[in-house]
């Protein structure tokens, strides 16, 4: 089969690759923000699996991606963790947001809102143009 540069299957593959890359870059910035936000809102400490369930509906990322981020945030002091034994199951590691985490979250939210607004404004013109073209 002769694959030419504008062969649809080659293009689809290239597009898919770029989509994957974009998704990864987007989530690497936002996952930490979402984790901090979830833990700030939580009334009780949460453990890993509980947190992944809260991400379930929205993200197409693998759940396993959250654990290294949780670890990273803990190491930086934004989260506090405690291993608690339980009767029916294994000891669980529970996370709560720290004071530093709350302060950092506040700043991050500010940046998010600004970025969000700016990005939307920029792409809105672009999407409008596309609609007109169709």
């Amino acid at each position: 089969m002769n694959l030419e540069p504008n062969d649809p299957s080659v293009e689809t593959e290239a597009v898919e690759q770029q989509v994957k890359k974009f998704r990864k870059e987007l989530s690497s910035g936002t996952v930490a923000l979402m984790l901090l936000s979830i833990l700030a809102k939580a009334k009780t400490p949460l453990y890993g699996y509980q947190i992944t369930k809260l991400f379930e509906q929205s993200s197409s990322d693998k759940q396993g991606a959250l654990y290294p981020v949780l670890r990273n945030l803990s190491t930086k002091g934004l989260l506090e963790s405690e291993v608690v034994p339980s009767e029916n199951g294994p000891p669980r590691k529970y996370f709560t947001i720290s004071t530093l985490g709350r302060a950092v979250l506040k700043e991050w939210l500010e940046i998010w809102h600004q970025t969000h607004a700016f990005v939307n404004q920029t792409i809105a013109d672009n999407s409008k143009g596309e609609d007109n073209g169709k």
């Binding site: 453990y47 890993g48 369930k53 991606a65 654990y67 290294p68 670890r71 029916n88 294994p90 590691k93």
Partner: protein
């Protein structure tokens, strides 16, 4: 028995994950295995605990290769967060012998030599005064619960010592305890029995006790040769300056090393301080190699 199939499949997943993380820090591997098993077990317990749901859970969690990649990527970020940027510029002092004066690692290792002695003695006392008697008392049944408490304490001590070693000697040590498998269908008593069996079979409990016993000797050696050596070097270095002044202020203070000895005392003190720093760094890297070997065990069941 489906439970056995599920356990087998979970073990298989963890083996693949361990294989995918080959070459990484032992402690990183232990952490990754803990997170994976923790998640898979929690998800299974949340669902219908079937083989089918396990496959779905793995699909959502990520394959071993995907997870390994995530941990490796995150680890380089974590290392950066903990230790900051290693200065890539030229060192201030070019000569390798003298360069150690500006090396933070050596001073942290020196602090370790100070702490290692009292800690080593405490560890040794715990093993000899509690561990051994409880082991022998176990022959009389009555000692068994005490011996189990001792084994549990080994796990806690190894985490504690691991944190100390990571902070002062830069060797990555586990940040999570060992995963303890509990089967919810087995009931509390059976789970307890099997976790006790795991603890007894685990090589790590015993190698940790060995480490504790060795630490007394090692800690004291480090302290006497390195820390005291460094301390005395500083004293000898400063004495020609400090002693005469102290004597002038208060004549009852004797002059141990008078000012005219400074030509010998100061270079001598300076050189021996540098030698002690080198020894500290050497001791630190020896300890950093010994500790993971005895305190971290990723080959356990």
């Amino acid at each position: 028995m489906e439970n056995n199939n599920i356990n087998f499949r979970v073990d298989q997943y963890l083996e693949e994950l361990k294989h995918a993380l080959q070459g990484q820090d032992r402690a990183l591997i232990q952490d990754a295995l803990f997170d994976a098993e923790d998640h898979l077990r929690a998800a299974l317990a949340d669902g219908d605990n079937s083989l089918g749901s396990l496959l779905e859970i793995i699909q959502k969690y990520g394959t071993p290769i995907e997870i390994a990649q995530l941990y490796c990527e995150m680890e380089s970020t974590v290392q950066h967060a903990l230790h900051g940027n290693r200065p890539s510029t030229q060192p201030i002092i070019k000569n390798r012998f003298f360069a150690i004066l500006t090396n933070g690692d050596a001073y942290r290792a020196l602090l370790y030599t100070l702490l290692a002695a009292p800690l080593g003695i405490a560890y040794f006392a715990w093993v000899v005064l509690f561990g051994l008697p409880s082991l022998t008392a176990s022959l009389l049944i009555i000692g068994i619960p005490l011996f189990l408490v001792f084994l549990k304490s080994m796990q806690l001590f190894s985490l504690f010592e691991g944190r100390l070693i990571e902070m002062l000697l830069g060797q990555r040590m586990p940040r999570r305890p060992l995963y303890q498998r509990k089967d919810p269908s087995q009931g509390m008593w059976n789970n307890w029995i099997s976790s006790i069996k795991d603890m007894l079979k685990n090589r790590r409990s015993y190698t940790t006790a060995l480490y504790m016993v060795l630490q007394a000797g090692l800690g004291l050696t480090y302290f006497i040769t390195i820390f005291v050596g460094a301390f005395m070097s500083v004293v000898v270095f400063l004495s020609p300056m400090v002693d005469p002044i102290a004597h002038a202020i208060d004549p009852s203070q004797t002059i141990d090393i008078n000012w005219y000895w400074f030509q010998l005392a100061m270079p001598g003190g300076f050189l021996s301080f540098i030698i002690c720093l080198h020894l500290a760094k050497f001791a630190g890297s020896f300890q950093a190699k010994l500790a993971p070997y005895l305190l971290v065990n990723i080959d356990d069941s």
